[in-house]
Amino acid sequence: MALPKLQCITHALKNLSLLSHPDQRALVCVNQVRAMSRVKRRHTVPPFWLPKTTRTMYPEHMTPENEVFLKDVIEEKYSSPLKTECWERGTWAKNSMRCGLIGRKIGIYPMWTKDGTRLLTTLLQVSDNQVIKYIKPEDIVQGKRKRYRELGALVIGADHIDPRIVTKEYYSVFSEAGVMPKKKMSKFLITPNAKLSPGTPLYASHFQPGHYVDIAGITIDRGFQGVMKRWGFKGMPASHGVTKSHRRGGNIGSGGDKARVLLGTKMPGHMGRERRILRGLKVWRINTQHNVIWVHGPAVPGGVGSYVYIYDSVLPDHRHTQENHPPFPTCFQDEEEVEEELYDQELHTFREPSVQFVEK
């Protein structure tokens, strides 16, 4: 990740007597962005630009009849057909990027392959994913590289919430798309041929068994941890005269010319609650009734119940080709019939007979 640039603004001092000449304006760095080694890892307050999601609730003294009426109104409003027009659906081309999904980690359990190998799989539930907005490549502020200048973005939302508890500002984000307000939103960079109209629902069948995904998530918050857990230090013996230093870091300097503690020295501190991306996880199984995806391994960042962002893998070995690309731009489950359970070819479905080895 590139270091954030130093932002300096010209600051006209009120008390000009501090300066020798009135034309001399001090270049004072007021909004200095710190280097990574000085950045706080634990943020207890959300950033200033984030709008408030829920509004302050006041006792409204509503009668039961009014409550029922409001519920009906909400249901009617959001169950009507989408008001936005259906856009033209793009076709897959080389180097196309389609959007991802927002899922929730719901658990881990073992599965077996057809030759009896046991593996652990993480279950991710994709609930109520809908497209909120499409942002054209011209409207995105991106880096200068040519590749990124051509990418648009789709804003996807997951898990709807009651529109009555939501602020006006937050609600306005969804009112244009005509979808129910969402708990979680994320932006996915896409090539323009993968664009989808706002309000399009996205399902787990967006991915297919046998393909590979990258998963981004926030790791479990472990709090303030010592060097042994945080950096894997070996510590010191429990006995043999060791004085008060069984789990400490020991020496922190190299001495001599470098008469200081070097930047980045591993020390105790906050561990976890960081965004991490795990690349190249195979999708083993998909349940289209409950929108659950089984991905390889138990190491998806985050605890059970946390949100994850699932993308098509960028690894060169798992790139899509003309022959084996997934439904593009997405699987329109409302129009096509999809099987309830989709399995990878190598996976043992529990309804099959037991694995047996044939004598050669």
Binding site: P59, E67, I106, G107, Y109, E352, V355
Partner: protein, 338 residues
């Protein structure tokens, strides 16, 4: 002006009329309502109001069920679901009373950080699918079983092992059990995953229980207690007969042992014959208060209502599962100690 939390007028300093239920706590504005108290009462009041009875709302002045119904629904953690046992006679007839003992791996692990209803439901579906292909019989720790697994390195590609079940653990698809036997004077223990597709069959040769939940002490017992013939015939049991409890007392070898068995309160071993100091030390490590610790039991188990829900969910599969349970007549053969 009314209190934000309770809706009571600020000048109202009298405690609420409902005197039977709660300890009166003061709200921060010094009116006598307490947010939590009011929310619980409001959930009840909301329910009462929905059933169009206003008696309860008169009992609770200043509390409007609807104003707090919404908040109570959103924020309250005090949702007590009533336990309504099933009335369906077919389900009642089929549901075994001892289902907790017969199908313990269907109950999920109690740790709330790992629990998720949908994942547990999908796991149960997979477990039932596997059971429909390879039936898993009822067994307990102390039962003698024969397991056949597919093994690419074995002649005939299958491997059969007979042993006594000394331990079983975990829940869901990870459920496992350990079989122990002594083969050619060598103690052998094998851990089997119950839902692995490599397992071809699980037979229970002798269905019985022992006095202890785990028989790990057989590792320190005389080998005769862990020896079972590899070609043992299954002993058939009478349909509907209770599972017999084998009251055998096992003799341990002299110390050293794998564990301090004198501290474990074992019922199925003979007198250990240790010096008095061992028993004195064991007494210091006793925790006689644990049997009164309700929270410990709460943390280690799933609530009764949820267990009933789970077994009701799998009840359509009972006929198939029950048919693999004990059948026929039983004859008992005691291990010969000579």
């Amino acid at each position: 002006m009314s209190c934000y939390y309770t809706g009571l007028a600020r000048s109202d300093l009298k405690p609420p009329v409902a005197s039977r239920s709660r300890r009166i706590k003061r709200c921060r504005c010094k009116c006598y309502g307490h947010p939590k108290t009011v929310m619980v009462m409001a959930v009840v009041a909301a329910a009462a109001l929905r059933s169009s009875s206003t008696r309860l709302s008169r009992l609770l002045p200043g509390v409007c069920g609807e104003a707090w119904g919404h908040q109570a629904r959103r924020g309250a953690v005090l949702r007590v679901l009533p336990f309504i046992p099933t009335q369906d006679p077919d389900v009642i007839k089929k549901m075994p009373e001892d289902f907790r003992a017969v199908y313990p791996e269907f109950l999920p692990g109690p740790k709330p950080e790992y629990r998720n209803r949908l994942r547990e439901k999908l796991e149960r579906q997979d477990m039932l699918a596997r059971r429909s292909v390879m039936p898993i019989p009822e067994f307990y720790v102390g039962s003698i079983m024969a397991v056949t697994v597919a093994d690419p390195n074995a002649s005939g590609k299958n491997n059969r092992f007979v042993g006594i079940c000394i331990q079983r653990g975990d829940a869901g698809l990870r459920a496992w059990f350990i079989l122990r036997n002594v083969v050619d004077h060598q103690g052998v223990e094998i851990k089997y995953e119950m839902y692995s597709p490599l397992l071809q069959s699980i037979e229970v040769l002798r269905l019985e229980k022992r006095l202890d939940d785990e028989l790990l002490y057989l590792r320190d017992a005389l080998p005769i207690y862990s020896t079972f013939p590899l070609d043992m015939e299954p002993e058939v049991m009478q349909e509907g007969a209770p599972v017999p409890v084998n009251p055998i007392k096992v003799q341990l070898k002299p110390r050293p042992w794998h564990e301090r068995w004198e501290r474990k309160n074992l019922q199925g071993v003979m007198d250990l014959g240790l010096p008095e100091r061992f028993y004195k030390k064991a007494k210091l490590h006793e925790k006689p208060w644990e049997k009164y610790d309700l929270m410990k039991e709460y943390r280690a188990t799933i609530p009764e209502e949820e267990q009933a829900d789970i077994f009701r969910e799998i009840s359509p599969h009972y006929p198939l599962m029950e048919s693999t349970r004990r059948r026929g007549k039983r004859k008992r053969v005691l291990p010969s100690i000579s």
